[in-house]
Symmetry: C2
Subunit: 171 residues, 2 copies
Amino acid sequence: MSLRHAVLGLLADRPASGYDLMKRFETSLAHVWSATQSQVYGELGKLADGGLVEVSAEGPRGRKEYAITPAGRAELHHWLTEVEPTRARRSDSLLRVFFLGELTRLEARTYLLGEAERAAQQLAGLKEAEAAIDWGGDPLSVHGRLAMEYGKRLSEMHEEWARWAAEQLTP
Amino acid sequence: MSLRHAVLGLLADRPASGYDLMKRFETSLAHVWSATQSQVYGELGKLADGGLVEVSAEGPRGRKEYAITPAGRAELHHWLTEVEPTRARRSDSLLRVFFLGELTRLEARTYLLGEAERAAQQLAGLKEAEAAIDWGGDPLSVHGRLAMEYGKRLSEMHEEWARWAAEQLTP
DNA sequence: CCAACCATGTAATAAGTTACATGATTCA
DNA sequence: TGAATCATGTAACTTATTACATGGTTGG
């Protein structure tokens, strides 16, 4: 149930509308937690019902700006410090690896080298994003930087592993 | 929609009942693709309706053994070679990293060192599992081994990153 | 005989995706 | 004035989780 905490976390930084939040899901949080527009608007409604956020301002075009409440901040803090992170357990790219025996050796190697290539592409994309982002001192971006480093290390590891794995299949 | 492909992949190796499949989801596929019992039985029904698997034998206690059909094998092959893997984009442990600014520096460091510890535990668990598994020459385990190596490299990377990140927060 | 294990299913709920529907405001 | 952007919502559907419900078989 982390969508709600993603929303709370973003609002903890500063108030925002559903539309604003969507942009942040699509940019900074893109590789970490994805959400669709209907989820975000739905969750804002539920959070408001529960008193964890409140409408702090209304603007043109029916814009509603939400702000986190003390109860919301308490819930966020609780989640951050006391809820054990769940180990992610779903990767369709790794799932395929288990079934490479269904393919010829050549096809399997092609798949793994494709993985290496996709990982390399991802790394390039992250580096580009990193250069483009204004890493000004705002508190959220300090930690966004830590996450960025994770992404880079992950892509590197993924690429190396895939090349190694492809080699294992070369007799 | 990879649950269906996970089931097809397991049945491609050898026929199995829903119960058998569940055990394999809980063991070999545990870190790669999780599924619940009701999902597995439900998916077997749908796959059978679609002609991708068929009941190949019935045993005691209402046991139904399913086998993959040629159509199922074709679908599996298609998924393995032509469907682009989706980049996984959800990790609640990484999501927390973005919001560490809500915590004191000490709390944030504690979280990151906890991550390091959990990663180390995971690595230990994988090594133990690796030692316990009979890596006999069967085709599925050749590739299970590649996935195992991925898991080990991932845990190592995760631990190193978390220690590095904790250090970044030390003034 | 009873515990452990084998075995299948359904119901209710929650979470996530895709598509549809609508309209205001800004700026070139 | 027309395109891009801002802005919110709902409906239908799929996927995943949790809990319930039932019973047969094996082996110590």
